[in-house]
């Protein structure tokens, strides 16, 4: 167990308080999350790890306002999102949150450039061209902007998704197994970029993964098992994470 080395006071980008999630009802109810408390620091790269069925994706969905907890509260910034109606929640996702999913991240009818500015266009705003261009350059997508998703490789598609997540300067970016469908080179590139986004652009990134190597790119790792946060680790290395996972019996 490593010790927290930083003593800086951090602000919270998102927070879960006593969040539980049950699927089904009565005797048939299955608990995916049981009374989870999590604080996600702003400006850091947090990984959520755990074996299949540990509830890690469910927790991400709750934090990102994609699903509602059975009980407990979720905050994004200072907003208690569990009390928001669908419309307000949708607008919050649009303006405050960026997403990178495992697959099917992009609209097939739109070009890469159009996909990147999608949330901004949905909001009916003008994209910040300078900002968007700098992201595109960082991701090496400059000569791919006019291509449609079907004309891009899996790695390129995920990089477009990452650019989209960043384009509107959200409070927090959620990534759900972003490297799950990628080869290792592409995966490494994407993780490197997410890390850069945190270090150089000051973004907050929360990523669900089951890959210890991916987790090692994070500043902090939360471990979930059977719907509980069982432990956490700061400044993880791939080996340390792997050891811990073995210990968890994954």
């Amino acid at each position: 167990m490593s010790v927290t080395t930083s003593t800086t006071i951090r602000t919270t980008a998102a927070r879960a308080e006593g969040v539980s999630k049950f699927y089904g009802s009565g005797d048939a109810a299955v608990a995916a999350l049981k009374d989870v408390d999590v604080d996600l620091d702003a400006g850091r790269f947090t990984a959520i790890m755990g074996p299949s069925g540990s509830g890690k994706s469910t927790l991400l969905h709750m934090l990102a306002g994609l699903d509602r907890p059975t009980s407990g509260e979720v905050y994004v910034g200072d907003t208690r999102i569990t009390s928001l109606n669908d419309k307000a929640l949708t607008l919050l996702r649009r303006d405050q949150i960026g997403f990178v999913f495992q697959s099917f991240n992009l609209l097939p009818t739109m070009t890469a450039a159009e996909n990147i500015v999608l949330p901004i266009r949905i909001a009916g705003r003008k994209p910040d061209d300078f900002w968007v261009q700098s992201i595109v350059e960082k991701l090496g997508l400059t000569d791919r902007l006019d291509h449609r998703p079907t004309e891009l490789s899996g790695g390129q598609q995920q990089r477009v998704a990452a650019a989209r997540a960043l384009a509107s300067r959200p409070q927090i970016i959620f990534a759900d197994e972003p490297t799950g469908a990628l080869d290792s080179t592409s995966g490494t590139e994407l993780l490197g970029f997410l890390r850069t986004a945190v270090k150089e652009l000051g973004q907050t990134v929360v990523m669900v993964t089951h890959d210890p190597t991916a987790a090692s790119y994070a500043d902090r790792v939360l471990f979930l098992a059977d719907g509980h946060v069982v432990d956490e680790m700061d400044e993880p290395t791939a080996d340390a994470v792997l050891d811990f996972m073995k210990h968890l019996g994954a």
Partner: protein
């Protein structure tokens, strides 16, 4: 495989419901048509049965030939003397002469008792023998006897408050006369005879007012007990003079029923055409559904293929699905058909074509024809998609199938261009070349099918163009535009259904509009009349010739020229003819003779239209062998060739004197009035109206009034056709709903993604709605364009008949397009709602 098919169908209830509805509506139209015409037929059969019950044999003049149109063949009269001979025949219990003819009742205030829907106003002789009356029963009062008594149908008496013992005037072809009402008459259980008004007189009075004293129309005979109809006819026949024949009562009933059946056949064909259009439009939806299910199910199909299902099994499964769907939809359609039959009857009533009725008749033929047609249409429409399904490769099970756009093939472009080209070539050569007009219809069909074939090619640019204003609606609009463009084939086949409906509606509108605006020119060009005397109801067959005499005496009238109408066989072909009065015609009528003279008509002359003269090579001095049903063969001499069809629309014009000689005196159909110099039209019109107070069967109109009345009639017909076509448009809208539902289902993940990254439910709904509007507008604009083209072609094709002005009802067409867009919004309500409800997590959770 069968169980899998069944499960698959039940899994998609909305899709199932919509596809069933689209075919069921078409089948309902078909079934409704059959039910209605069967019902009408039975009603008429019952009617004739009632009148003729009790008559075992009928003696009548032999007809020269059997006329092809109209109810029954007109025959010459039979001499009254024959009656005495018939009465002496052994086995004849009773025989009486019968006479019938035009008799218009008026109420106690002198107003005409008019019928709705062109049912005739008739006068009959009332047989003295009660058996010969058949089901014609005196309900109240007594049977008429003597020259001043009349019995009328109970409906007329009740609805117009004509009391027994009161005096009414009855109008005939000859002078009108006043009668005392002595009784009311019913027919079996009915109070009138299929909507007609009836006046009954005793035999001698009927001869005097309806025919002439020496003759009867026919002689009705009742047999002694134990003498069969056939036997009776045989015995009578031997005693008859030449030119007379005896037939059984059953034969007469059957002939009448057959004649009606011919008319009904026409009605049936008209309705069938509309039913066919509805089914055609419905087949697009079936096609679309199957194409989309095949695409969506490609993984399922590929899986089936991977685990060893043969291509044949896959396509068979889809065909079975279509078969089940067809049978189910047809069954539902037959049920709705009963409602449609009622609706059609109501519609006919509303536009003024009342029909006799009885309980709705559902014959076995209706059921199997509807089932067969509905099922075949469904299976045929599903055939191509089913074949395509077999091409799904097992490996596709592994792919995450985002159904692709699929660009239109070269073959499609070539086929479409060739069909449209041939259609256009055919159209222009029939309109402006020497090619037979028989090619006109196929050419139009070629163009329509060609355009349908090409629509997928045009769909993408069209959607792009129509979608331009949507950019103003922000991203929802932009995405809607892209969605409409992404699968042009689907967009096209959805829009094509609407296009077909709108093409027909718009072309009818253009045609009617051209017809209306030509009407003034037609009348102006072909008559010099200042006023027009016409029948008081547009559907009445005409008015008494007495009217002309009355109008002639009105101060300010210089001349009034009568015309009548009839049918005869000219040079072996049945054709309508106009009869005019050569002495007065030149004054009001402008025939523009290219050769000959109207005054040469006499009683054996004929003036032929230029077009008929050209095609038959007739010229002045030639003879035309003509047959009149009433009197047989005549030889007519061509005394003129006329140019300007308009007021007169027939190929043949003879004199009224010739008509009276050959076919007996007929009702006058119109009178053209010219005024003396300096007379004021309005004043004279008033004077004529006053003079016609005693003649409620006719009225006088000025040119404007006449045009208005005519265009009112055109509007009525147009309304009828539009209502008929509205069903096809409705089916097309169901098709849009269907396509949207399927598209939404197909794009679940996309919608989820959009929702995840911040699209609100409202924006999602707007996106689906605008896509629907784009599809509707593609159909509407293509339909409007095509419809205007076809309407113009149709008008041009009838330029010879006087439709020279071309008019496009711009406002009406624009209205249709706007309505289509609104309908698109409505069609999108359900699908938009389900799109907005898509579970966001579905997009996030990879399967």
């Amino acid at each position: 495989m069968f169980i899998a098919t069944l499960r698959g169908m039940l899994a998609h209830k909305v899709r199932l419901g919509l596809t069933i509805a689209s075919i069921a509506l078409g089948v309902a139209f078909l079934a409704g048509t059959l039910v209605l015409t069967d019902t009408m037929r039975l009603a008429f059969d019952q009617l004739f049965g009632k009148v003729s019950a009790g008559t075992d044999a009928v003696v009548r003049a032999e007809a020269a030939y059997t006329q092809s149109e109209g109810t029954g063949t007109s025959r010459g009269p039979i001499p009254a003397s024959v009656l005495q001979q018939v009465r002496t025949v052994d086995g004849v219990r009773a025989a009486e002469g019968s006479v019938s003819g035009y008799a218009l009742l008026t109420d106690n205030a002198g107003r005409a008792v008019l019928t709705s829907g062109g049912a005739p106003t008739m006068g009959y002789s009332m047989p003295a023998d009660t058996t010969l009356r058949g089901d014609v029963k005196v309900l109240t009062g007594a049977a008429p006897s003597g020259p001043h008594q009349v019995a009328i149908d109970a409906t007329s008496a009740e609805e117009h408050h004509i009391a027994l013992g009161s005096t009414i005037k009855v109008l005939f072809q000859g002078p009108a006369q006043e009668f005392t009402v002595v009784g009311t008459v019913g027919f079996g259980g009915e109070k009138n005879l299929g909507g007609t008004t009836s006046a009954y007189f005793d035999s001698a009075t009927a001869q005097r007012v309806l025919g002439s004293p020496e003759v009867f129309d026919a002689i009705n005979v009742s047999a002694d007990d134990g003498v069969s109809q056939a036997e009776l006819v045989q015995r009578i026949d031997t005693s008859l003079p030449d030119g007379a024949e005896a037939v059984t009562g059953d034969t007469v009933v059957k002939e009448s029923a057959d004649a009606v059946d011919k008319d009904l056949k026409f009605v049936r064909i008209i309705f069938m055409i509309f039913a066919g259009i509805a089914l055609f439009v419905g087949s697009f939806i079936i096609w679309n559904t199957f194409t989309m299910t095949v695409t969506q199910r490609s993984r399922e199909i590929a899986l089936l293929r991977a685990i060893g299902a043969t291509r044949r099994q896959v396509s068979r499964s889809l065909i079975i699905e279509a078969l089940l769907l067809g049978v189910l939809a047809s069954g539902v359609g037959i049920g709705i058909g009963l409602l449609v039959a009622e609706g059609l009857k109501l519609l006919m009533d509303v536009i003024g074509f009342s029909l006799p009725s009885t309980s709705m008749q559902v014959e076995p033929r209706t059921i199997w024809v509807s089932l067969l047609v509905g099922t075949i249409v469904t299976v045929v429409a599903a055939l191509v998609p089913a074949m395509r399904a077999t091409k799904v490769l097992p490996v596709e099970a592994l792919r995450d199938a985002v159904p692709g756009a699929g660009n239109p093939s070269r073959k499609r472009v070539v086929t479409g261009v060739v069909l449209t080209g041939l259609g256009l070539a055919g159209l222009f050569s029939t309109l402006y070349g020497d090619v037979s007009m028989k090619l006109f219809g196929p050419s139009l069909l070629g163009i329509i099918v060609g355009v349908i074939t090409l629509l997928p090619v045009a769909a993408r640019p069209l959607a792009s163009l129509i979608g331009v204003p949507l950019r103003l609606r922000g991203l929802s609009g932009e995405l809607a535009r892209q969605n409409a463009m992404r699968n042009p084939r689907r967009t096209a086949s959805t829009a094509a259904a609407l296009m077909v409906g709108l093409t027909l509606v718009v072309s009818m509108g253009v045609f009617a509009s051209s017809l209306k605006s030509s009407f003034g020119d037609i009348i102006g060009g072909s008559t010099n009349a200042d006023l027009f005397v016409t029948a008081s109801s547009t559907q009445a067959p005409g008015f008494s010739p007495e009217v002309i005499k009355v109008v002639k005496d009105v101060p300010g009238v210089r001349q009034v020229s009568a015309s009548a109408w009839g049918q005869a066989r000219f040079d072996g072909t049945d054709s309508g003819y106009s009869a005019i009065d050569p002495a007065t015609a030149a004054d009001g009528l402008n025939l523009r003779l290219s050769s000959g003279a109207i005054s040469d008509l006499g009683t054996d002359g004929v003036i032929v239209a230029q077009s008929a003269a050209t095609s038959h090579g007739w010229k002045v001095g030639d003879t035309i062998r003509t047959e009149f049903a009433e009197t047989g063969k005549h030889v007519l001499h061509v005394v003129g060739v006329y140019d300007s069809k308009g007021w007169i629309g027939d190929d043949f014009v003879i004199s009224i004197a010739a008509q009276t000689a050959a076919a007996g005196q007929q009702l006058t159909s119109s009178g053209l009035v010219t005024l003396v110099d300096g007379a004021d039209t309005a004043t004279v019109q008033k004077a004529i109206t006053a003079a016609l107070a005693d003649h409620p069967d006719a009225k006088v109109l000025d040119r404007k009034g006449f045009e208005k009345e005519a265009s009112g009639f055109i509007d009525k017909l147009l309304t009828f056709v539009t209502v008929m076509l509205a069903l096809a448009v409705l089916i097309a809208l169901l098709g849009i709903v269907n396509t949207l539902v399927l598209s939404v289902f197909e794009r679940t993940r996309e919608l989820g993604l959009l929702r995840a990254v911040g699209m609100t439910r409202g924006q999602v709904r707007a996106m689906v709605r605008w896509e629907s509007v784009v599809i509707s507008l593609i159909g509407a604009l293509a339909g409007a364009g095509l419809g205007i083209g076809l309407g113009l072609a149709l008008s041009q094709a009838l330029a010879d008949e006087g439709i020279e002005a071309i008019s496009i009802p711009g406002f009406q067409v624009a209205l249709y397009v706007v309505l289509a867009a609104v309908a698109g919004v409505l069609a999108a309500v359900g699908p938009a709602r389900s799109a907005a409800k898509v579970d966001v997590l579905q997009a996030v959770v990879a399967d």
